[in-house]
Symmetry: C2
Subunit: 200 residues, 2 copies
């Protein structure tokens, strides 16, 4: 059984191309993916950052935007810088988590497209409702379920697990043997690892 | 004319595999490389860091060492963690810069091998003298030239140029049209860019 977990944060810029690329890469390698939305905020707070490192360190930020422009250009993905950046991703993460596993990838890609291609505010309930509608989900019950205590607790636990696994940022791939692969540019390597080190 | 500049810092861990890989990658693409040693210290100080970010942020540090282990493993490069890390790279950078352009790549690779494969102290004059000997250079006159004011000034100017170009870390590739590619994992992309956007 070849498995990997795909960890992503809706506010994370490099998670956008990763989310758009990963299903095809996993399918090519016959790796079953679990999509794991989580929050970078608590990880960053643990390192003393109260904002995105791309804002705190402008040299890194300038580099990232140009790098992302080239990456998206090569993939044919539209890119429009969200304003403000980073977006508040809490509600989108809760909604993604409240969905059935099978619907999470399509919803997550829809969020990234809205955020990084269409500059829509992903913290707005109207945006999330529209995106749920796009994937054929009745918005109101799902938005209500997203803010129930059980779902909030699940997101907290998932974020705590990301920290316990030692994720340094997003996106990441993790494999059952405990390896962590950080970055859009490590997807192929992580999936190759999952294939080569599959459990019997 | 296809050209690119390869920016590296002797204390930088990811610069090690990059220095070992880059000549073959550049030759495949017929790109003429200029090797540019520089110092990360002033760049990091500009972002408020007085130590390697891999030490300041232990989660990133742990990830980096495992990532580097996998990268070196795949390349068949030995890896032994320098102690202390980072090494003081000032003298090695001065020596590299004092050499003829044609000798700089071989000397630089020798420094990385001594540091990251053999755990030798690269701030020691004895290490640098031995490495110069390995590449067929009489050590004493070169070590003397390395600490002359003119050479110190050249290193300062090169580091200032790295900052002006907006390098966020090391290693980097830069192309004549002002693009910056950061990381061992961007060498192919940067060299492909140099080939595709060559000046007439």
């Amino acid at each position: 059984m070849r498995r990997a977990e795909f960890w992503y944060e809706f506010a994370s810029s490099y998670s956008y191309p990763a989310a758009m690329r990963i299903e095809a890469l996993a399918a090519e390698r016959d790796v079953a993916l679990s999509w794991r939305p989580f929050l970078l905020g608590p990880l960053f707070a643990g390192q003393g950052w109260r904002d995105s490192p791309f804002n705190l360190y402008p040299v890194k930020g300038r580099y990232m935007w140009r790098d992302l422009e080239r990456i998206c250009g090569a993939l044919g993905l539209p890119l429009a810088r969200p304003d403000p950046f980073p977006q508040n991703s809490l509600h989108a993460a809760r909604v993604a988590l409240a969905l059935d596993d099978a619907l999470r990838p399509a919803f997550s890609r829809a969020v990234y497209r809205a955020e990084f291609a269409e500059r829509r505010p992903i913290d707005a309930a109207a945006t999330l409702a529209a995106l749920l509608g796009e994937i054929g989900v009745e918005p109101e019950p799902l938005l209500a379920r997203a803010v129930e205590d059980a779902n909030k607790t699940t997101l907290k636990a998932q974020t705590a697990r990301a920290m316990a696994l030692g994720l340094p940022g997003a996106p990441c791939l993790t494999t059952p043997d405990g390896e962590v692969f950080w970055g859009n540019d490590r997807l192929e390597q992580g999936l190759d690892w999952a294939r080569a080190h599959a459990e019997p």
